[in-house]
């Protein structure tokens, strides 16, 4: 719920400055209206995060546009606007990164920790899509930034414990700054056992252990130039996925970048950032913890990405513009070795991702044009060249079994465009926009070879001959704020052509023992997704704050009926109070019964549910040292429930008592 608080606070800050500041600050207001910003990294005491040491996914889930598909207690897949990961672009500080798991057990968000990040920016549709072609939107996990300044050394240490799954969290960070150098080093450790769903039901294979270390350093070259180097190493072992037939023995990533920044270059060119980056992801699936499996298998995957971006920001006349030129190369390889149950028989091997390369180049331009004091427009456009290359002969030959004429290389041209206007009058803020974009099929959609989906129990085969998926969208919102009262109604509508989805193909023999059939990726003539959200917040008597949020989504596809994984009507309401160093909060969230679902994708009807959480916190200060103690109970009534986004309907956590301690010095 505190995510809402942060977003609202931004509104307050910026609306105040809009009146007084006629140049340069206007853009902050515009952008914050078109995106949601989730502050993650502020662990300093006094800050209002409900559960400071929550994992990143729990933070992201608070955004209206974001749902998380859960396959376990960790590594949830973010869905933007009701659309799964293939339709959005998730970046870490603008760096493209691809998971190494064919079963989506390692979304990008699983390779970072909240301590690595300052905030997450969510853009809907093609607005703000500097990172690349997208349909649903972009999610940029912004790295914790430090900066040059007066000599200063600060640190934090934190520790947390959750009773439900006995999760132990601890870590520490140090950051120093001086006029010429700045640096951060931090690490986080998490270890949890299986969690228990409501009424004491233990969810087996839901344990996890994870280490994360990150460092960042900046060096000033002169008053207007500096360089920054950043490194994140994330290492997770023994991670259970109760919703899937396999767990993960190892998931690790190296994420490194080097950036050069120049500012105040000329009157019309304010900043030029150039970054080169490299990330290396390894993901090893493991079924040794499962006692009964039809056949034992090893499924390792690797994904390596090297890329760059160069971004110019400037002002010309009334325009505030941004231009980003970027490119990246990715190599994704995944294999499956099955160990025969017949002694003496050879192992069975195949490539599930046949060594596919993505070679991508992109040019994106964005311009903010204020027409009057209270009316402005944001226009953006982007064009990209997307090439897929299957250089590995054995990989190409596997796919040629299904597509005999398939060429090893395929190049696509992707285009995107968005335009929005914003109008401010008295206490009202209105905005409306439209956008268009297309995308290439993902590695699994284009080149996957017998990927088993444990939700609908089908083997999926990729289709490299698909056309680009296209989307046209409309969005709008109306916000009213006066005194302590704020209400906002927002909505978006996506109309897609050539919507990529798995379609059953009779007559194909399954590969996975026990699967119901084989689906080959194909395209629906069209599909449509509609989202709407209503926020009503009221702050009164300075210390009380009441927030409410209602979300509704609907998705349909030509010939398929209701699209799978669409959120039913969901509501959240919260009440919080803050007096000096003490704060308390009570939250209720829930969902109506889900009657729109798609049985062809394994979904079933779901009952509605309501969950209650509460948190109290107290801050202490002694000189330069501060301590924040936060404790609470999630799912107070120990309700056993599951939601539309829980893969295979695994139940969610039951009652969980948690304590977080953050020390700053």
């Amino acid at each position: 719920m505190s995510r809402l608080i942060w977003v609202v606070l931004l509104f307050f800050c910026d609306s105040a400055s809009a009146q007084s500041d006629s140049t340069g600050r206007r853009d902050t207001i515009k952008i914050s209206q078109l995106e949601e910003v989730i502050i993650t990294g502020d662990l300093s005491p006094g800050k209002k995060a409900t559960k400071p040491l929550a994992n990143l996914e729990q933070y992201l889930e608070k955004a209206a546009a974001v749902n998380m598909i859960r396959r376990g207690s960790y590594a949830w897949e973010p869905m933007l606007n009701g659309m799964s990961a293939e339709r959005s672009v998730v970046t870490i500080d603008g760096m493209r990164i691809y998971g190494a798991c064919t079963d989506k057990m390692d979304p990008v968000t699983s390779y970072v920790e909240i301590t690595n990040l300052e905030k997450a920016n969510v853009h809907n549709g093609q607005t703000g899509s500097a990172a690349g072609a997208t349909i649903a939107g972009s999610l940029d996990l912004v790295r914790r930034k430090n900066y040059f300044g007066k000599k200063n050394l600060k640190g934090i240490a934190f520790s947390g414990f959750e009773f439900n799954n006995r999760q132990k969290i601890f870590g520490a960070g140090v950051n120093w700054r001086s006029p010429g150098i700045y640096g951060n080093v931090d690490f986080t450790f998490r270890d949890a056992d299986n969690y228990k769903a409501g009424k004491g039901e233990e969810v087996l294979y839901s344990q996890l252990t994870k280490y994360n270390v990150s460092a960042i350093a900046g060096l000033k070259i002169d008053a207007h130039r500096h360089v920054e180097a950043s490194l994140i190493y994330d290492h997770a072992v023994d991670i259970g996925y109760p919703a899937l037939p396999m767990d993960v023995s190892l998931a690790k990533a190296w994420i490194a970048s080097l950036e050069y920044v120049r500012h105040h270059i000329s009157p019309w060119l304010q900043q030029w950032q150039t970054k080169v980056y490299y990330n290396d992801v390894t993901h090893i699936m493991d079924d040794t913890k499962r006692p009964v499996v039809p056949i034992r298998m090893d499924m390792p995957g690797w994904s390596k990405t090297a890329g760059f971006y160069s971004r110019l920001q400037g002002a010309a006349g009334r325009h505030d513009w941004k231009l980003t030129f970027s490119g990246h190369h990715n190599y994704s390889l995944a294999e499956m070795t099955m160990f025969s149950n017949t002694p003496g028989e050879k192992d069975m091997f195949m490539l599930t991702w046949p060594g596919v390369q993505i070679n991508y180049g992109d040019l994106y331009i964005e311009d903010i044009i204020p027409f009057r004091e209270n009316l402005s427009a944001v226009v953006s456009t982007g064009i990209a060249v997307h090439n897929n290359l299957v250089n590995k002969r054995s990989g190409l030959e596997s796919l040629q079994i299904f597509y005999p004429g398939m060429e090893k290389s395929n190049t696509r041209l992707l285009k995107r465009f968005s335009a929005a206007i914003q109008y401010r009058k008295d206490s009202w803020l209105l905005d409306a926009g439209l956008a268009y974009g297309d995308r290439a099929p993902s590695v699994s959609e284009g080149y996957g070879f017998y990927l088993f989906n444990s939700f609908d129990r089908f083997d999926y085969i990729g289709n490299p001959e698909m056309k680009n998926e296209k989307s046209a969208s409309l969005n709008g919102s109306a916000t009213f704020q006066q005194n302590g009262f704020m209400t906002k109604l927002s909505g978006s509508f996506f109309y897609m052509k050539d919507y990529i989805i798995g379609l059953p193909e009779r007559g194909l023999s399954v590969m996975t023992i026990g699967a119901s059939g084989v689906k080959v990726y194909g395209q629906l003539k069209n599909a449509a997704i509609f989202n709407t959200a209503l926020d009503v917040n009221y702050r009164f008597a300075e210390k009380w704050y009441w927030t409410n949020k209602l979300i509704y989504r609907r998705g349909t596809g030509d010939g398929v009926g209701d699209l799978p994984m669409i959120q039913p009507f969901t509501y959240t309401t919260g009440f919080s109070v803050k007096v000096k160093a003490f704060s308390a909060e009570v939250l209720m969230n829930g969902s109506a019964r889900q009657n729109r679902y798609n049985p062809d994708f394994g979904e079933l009807a779901l009952p509605g549910y309501t969950i209650f959480n509460m948190v109290v916190s107290r801050g202490f200060q002694a000189g330069n040292t501060s301590l924040q103690v936060k404790g609470g109970v999630e799912n107070i009534f120990d309700r056993n429930y599951t939601t539309f986004s829980d893969w295979n309907r695994i139940p969610r956590m039951g009652r969980n008592i948690f304590i977080n301690l953050v020390v700053g010095f």
């Binding site: 039809p294 056949i295 499956m336 099955m338 025969s340 149950n341 017949t342 028989e345 050879k346 192992d347 069975m348 091997f349 195949m350 490539l351 054995s394 030959e397 596997s398 040629q400 079994i401 299904f402 005999p404 070879f449 017998y450 194909l508 023999s509 399954v510 590969m511 023992i513 026990g514």
Partner: protein, 279 residues
Amino acid sequence: MKPFKILSSGLLVILFFLACSKEKDPVQADETEGLQLVATFHNDDHKIDLYTKNGKFQTGYNDIFFQIKDKQDRFINDAQVEWAPVMHMSAMSHSCPSSTISKKEGTRSLYTGFIVFQMAGNDMEYWELTINYTAGGTAYSVKQKIQVTAAPKRVVESFMGADEKRYILALAAPAEPGVAVNDMKAVLYRMESMMLFTPVDGYTIKIDPRMPGMGNHSSPNNVDLTQGADKLYYGKLSLTMTGYWKINLQLANESGDIIKGESVTDDNESSSIYFELEF
């Protein structure tokens, strides 16, 4: 005069030896590259070296290569050759399918043909190969016992069809399969008598490759084998992963009637005739 005589006769001797050694064909070593020697046959006049890819004679289809050399180790490159394999069993003898002999394309000394051994030899019962050839107007012959061992996997089927005739069906390719749609080649012979096997024309060899170790799943885009211009049978074998595959077979005659083999269904796990591949 004397030194000159010594020098010139020395030169003559050297030249003589050079000329003679030119007879030893330097091409020889290259033509059997990639092949391994299996057996050497001797008669009074010649020596015949027989080669195969894996250095063995095995049950099933064997591509055999050989060179004929005289006692001076010179190649006989233009002989007319035919062969006759015979298995001597305790009660009787019988032959097996074999091709005519030709020169391997692009070689001068390498003769080639194939033989399909339906069974392996043992201490009591053995295979013997007779090679009859004419070179330089004279007819020669050589006959020798050969070792035929059982192939590690099932690559030949010998059966009685519904038409009361005996057939021999053998897998010729792929010898090194890959995860891909592989070109498949097979040979089909009818047993006319103990000693006579003739190639069969116009039939169809239906294939259904399965992985018994993985729920008996199949693969897409296989093409049944039909006869090509050279009388051998060609089709496509799709293999989606490495491991052990059972290629279930059904033999259909010119009219399309199935004369041997059953289709694989939920109730019937395998056909009575099949090949095996493990890679």
